[in-house]
Amino acid sequence: MNLTLKVWRQKSTSEQGKLVEYKVSEISEDMSFLEMMDVLNYKLIESGDDPVAFDHDCREGICGMCSMFINGEAHGPNRGVTTCQLHMRSFKDGDTIYIEPWRSAAFPVIKDLMVDRSAFDRVQQAGGFISVNTSGRTLDANAIPVPKEDADKSFDAATCIGCGACVATCPNGSAMLFVSAKVSQYALLPQGQVERKERVLNMVKKMDEEGFGNCSNIGACEVQCPKNISLDNIARMNREYLMASIKPEN
């Protein structure tokens, strides 16, 4: 198929960017979206132009690095998939496709479609862990049974890949879905209880400091999350936060 691409080009964080039009031809519907971008870049390099910079690594939907806003949707038109898992069979010959970076105050553009998501790392550093040293001298793994339902819910929250689609798609640039997934993973496990209150307070504080907006219950994050992280996590985090704020001494 033949396509028209309108791609966001921006040389660096401080420079102005704009949409630039490119044509690509002979795109197979079996290609992934990023393989289509490879075709474009190969052509650009051969003709002496600067290829489009974009983040990507595993190309199997798990590393969370790819991050394109395609036709106004984070990771494109399909649900429950990352950009790298989006295939060209989801488009038609002759389509015009708009490709933009994640847009959020907390995620400055580095170049073209690449953004800086290190704010997520810093939120994690503020409390996204259980304080146990790696001695190997911990309890036997089966010493504390965990109800299967809790373990499964904790796992579902933990499958967040930290791609930032939730922030990109939120009109407020809120990171509540990301942060709440981490808070929930630990809140649901016995191992996470000791630091439960501190954790949610510290992570939320850091989240606000990093410039992420507030949640106003729109729910777009859940819709466009490639890993189907549930809004229930946000409700849980609000509860955790409230409990921790009311009775900080316990």
């Binding site: 190969y42 002496g48 199997e60 939907g61 798990i62 969370g64 790696t134 036997d140 089966n142 930290g162």
Partner: protein
């Protein structure tokens, strides 16, 4: 040069204990004055960085991705082995040790492997304490499944995302130390040279991938936890950015590279669909717990299937060939990866392949769906259930176990694997070879360590499934934190290491010269042009089957690619700022040199073992034929300045605890 693996004396099950009891320590006050650089933040790197920082060392951790959490360990699917014997099926440390040595076709080091088996159980305890949500049964206890090459269930898992959960666990431990200021995190940084002062590793040159600047970082020790080199094949299940550069630059500085020809071709990957493909996707080995592998028994059926005149579901049982169950009745579909891959290739080469390219076999879940459906009906006390209801119940169970894998498959292939059997074919997945290390995980450069897939030590000529995660975490959590002290105990008086020295100047200039050369050569061809060309040669001649003639041809061709590459590659842009093509060019330059070494190593090893299958050396029924008399050694290669003329240095492998015999899974 002779190699000393520094294996402690004593009986195999006492070596590690004895070592830990007698190894030198660094006191806490001195640790604060010692810098350690950890390159790479996958399972080995993140766990090493976290552990070393907890101990009190000052750690710098580098990753080329935008966050440590993206390292490719994240993509490991099926599980992690540990000798816990929770299933009460006769597992033990010795059995894990034995299975790993045998699985590696008797080409790994006994002492290292035994240590790995010993610490395996601690890994699970540690991860659970960190909040890793492993799969549990209804009693709330941990669940296990089976992987290839074993007859017990010792694999812990978190659905098809075990690597993700373990890496996020290590990343959380690391994040805690970053928050405390004990780790300085350098994301979007790539190591491009190792700096050696007075024979010791004293730092690195790294490129800041955002600004483009070359940076000098000094340390008292450098740990390379940089993964494998599977991307030398261009198409592999590795991430696009996975590369050998850190390890290769250390090799050029004197670290020996061991067994480069030992590469793992994984049997169950989604087949190649066309020339546009940029990478391949694995379907976890855990699927072989429940999936049965087959091709049509008769060529006319295979032809009809390829022509889409016949649907696989309509082919009756008696016209199917479950070739693994037929050839290897004792292990069936759970034979080790090298054997399963070769068997698939053999059937496809004979004309029984089932997709349009003829390079695919079926992985079929229909029997498992029915089996689980019936069990589920019993559990729920349902009687007189229809076949359709049983299928529905069974699909639910399969979805709970492998849901994300089935979804990935459907995304890529556009077929529903619950309804039609998956099509799979072998693809490059893991590299057993890597930097030579001794028992302490130190390379031949003092102060330079290699952990995880980046070293060669534990998997011999073939790695068993679910053992990569085990090794990465064992090295980072439980081995390096002990062994590094033995070296650093001599460094307590060194003080901080200056970077304004001739050695750092030389290394930085060396990197700058190479990178600048890419912009001034007047070339016209994109980096990928060379990478694809190199990958095809290595896949064809140094892939699942190798022979003398092919390897010699490949070596000549790779030399030509190397010359042409420097003359004609085109890298747009400049040294300044973000430049992904420049990053790729530097990596491919190293892959080209490594590719030649792989072929030289494969040519030298006149035997077949594990993943290294030389067509000249096979049994009458097509199994690998080892030559223990002449090749029971680690081939460690020394860089001489000319990539085509490395020196071979041998480390003899001595088996005192396991009887070396022909490897049989029949």
């Amino acid at each position: 040069m002779t190699l000393d693996a520094k294996i402690p004396s004593g009986s195999i099950d006492q070596k590690w204990t004895k070592y830990k009891n007698s190894v030198r320590l660094v006191n806490p006050a001195n640790k604060r004055n010692i810098d350690v650089i950890v390159v790479g933040t996958g399972l080995a790197g993140a766990s090493a960085a976290a552990s070393l920082a907890e101990m009190g060392y000052k750690v710098k951790a580098l990753c080329f991705q935008d966050s440590p959490r993206r390292a490719h360990s994240i993509a490991a699917q099926g599980g992690i082995n540990a000798a816990k014997n929770y299933m009460n099926d006769g597992d033990s440390t010795y059995r894990l040790f034995y299975d790993t040595i045998k699985g590696g076709d008797y080409r790994s080091r006994e002492a290292n492997v035994h240590r790995l088996a010993e610490v395996s159980a601690n890994i699970i305890d540690q991860c659970v304490a960190q909040g890793v949500p492993f799969a549990r049964d209804y009693g709330g206890l941990l669940d296990n499944r089976s992987f290839g090459g074993t007859q017990v269930s010792r694999t812990f898992y978190a659905k098809g995302q075990t690597g993700q959960q373990l890496l996020l666990g290590a990343y959380s431990a690391m994040s805690r130390q970053v928050g405390k200021g004990n780790i300085q995190l350098l994301n979007r940084h790539e190591m491009l040279d190792l700096v050696i002062v007075d024979g010791k590793a004293r730092g690195i040159i790294a490129r800041n991938m955002v600004t483009g600047e070359l940076e000098r970082h000094s340390a008292h020790a450098v740990a390379l936890c940089t993964g494998g080199y599977g991307n030398v094949f261009f198409l592999s299940t590795n991430a696009m950015g996975s590369n050998v550069t850190a390890g290769w630059r250390a090799h050029r500085r004197g670290a020996l590279f061991a067994n480069p020809c030992f590469t793992q071709i994984h049997p169950t990957c989604i087949p190649v669909s066309g020339d546009h493909q940029s990478k391949l996707t694995l379907m976890s080995e855990s699927l072989r717990n429940d999936g049965r592998i087959w091709v049509p028994k008769f060529k006319e059926d295979a032809e009809a299937i390829r022509a889409k005149k016949l649907r696989p579901n309509d082919l009756p049982e008696e016209r199917r060939d479950y070739y693994l169950e037929r050839r290897y009745p004792a292990f069936g579909n759970l034979v080790p990866r090298d054997i399963a891959s070769r068997a698939a290739k053999e059937r496809c080469d004979e004309g029984f392949g089932v997709n349009s390219t003829g390079e695919a076999v079926y992985l079929d879940f229909s029997a498992a769906i029915v089996r689980y459906g019936k069990a589920e009906a019993n559990v729920k006390g349902l009687h007189n259930v229809t076949d359709a209801e049983i299928l529905k119940l069974g699909k639910k169970v399969v979805e709970a176990k492998y849901g994300n894998l089935f979804q990935m498959y459907e995304q890529i292939v556009d077929e529903n694997p619950y309804e039609t059997p998956m099509m799979i074919y072998p693809a490059v997945h893991y590299t057993m070879g890597g930097l030579w290390v001794d028992y302490e995980l130190m390379t031949t450069i003092p102060g330079c360590y290699a952990c995880g897939e980046a070293n060669f030590s534990d998997h011999g000529a073939n790695r068993l499934g679910a053992s990569a995660l085990m090794q990465g975490l064992a090295d980072g959590y439980f081995v390096l934190p002990y062994t590094i002290g033995n070296y650093l105990a001599d460094e307590i008086k060194t003080g901080s290491i200056p970077t304004n020295t001739p050695e750092f100047d030389e290394a930085e200039n060396n990197v700058r010269k190479q990178l600048e050369g890419f912009f001034t050569n007047g070339g016209t061809k994109p980096v990928d042009y060379y990478h694809k060309k190199l990958g095809k040669i290595i896949w064809d001649k140094c892939g699942m089957a190798r022979n003398e003639e092919g390897l010699k041809w490949a070596i000549t061709e790779i030399k030509k690619i190397r010359e042409d590459f420097y003359k004609n590659v085109r890298v747009p842009g400049s040294m300044k700022g973000m430049n992904p093509e420049l990053e790729k060019a530097a990596r491919v330059a190293d892959f080209i040199e490594l590719g030649e070494l792989m072929c030289l190593d494969a040519l030298n090893r006149n035997e077949s073992c594990g993943g290294h299958f030389r067509e000249e050396y096979q049994t009458p029924d097509g199994e690998a034929l080892r030559d223990d008399e002449n090749y029971m050694y680690v081939a460690a290669w020394q860089f001489t300045g000319n990539p085509s003329e490395p020196n071979l240095i041998k480390e003899d492998l001595i088996y005192e605890n396991i009887k070396v015999s022909a490897r049989s899974y029949k």
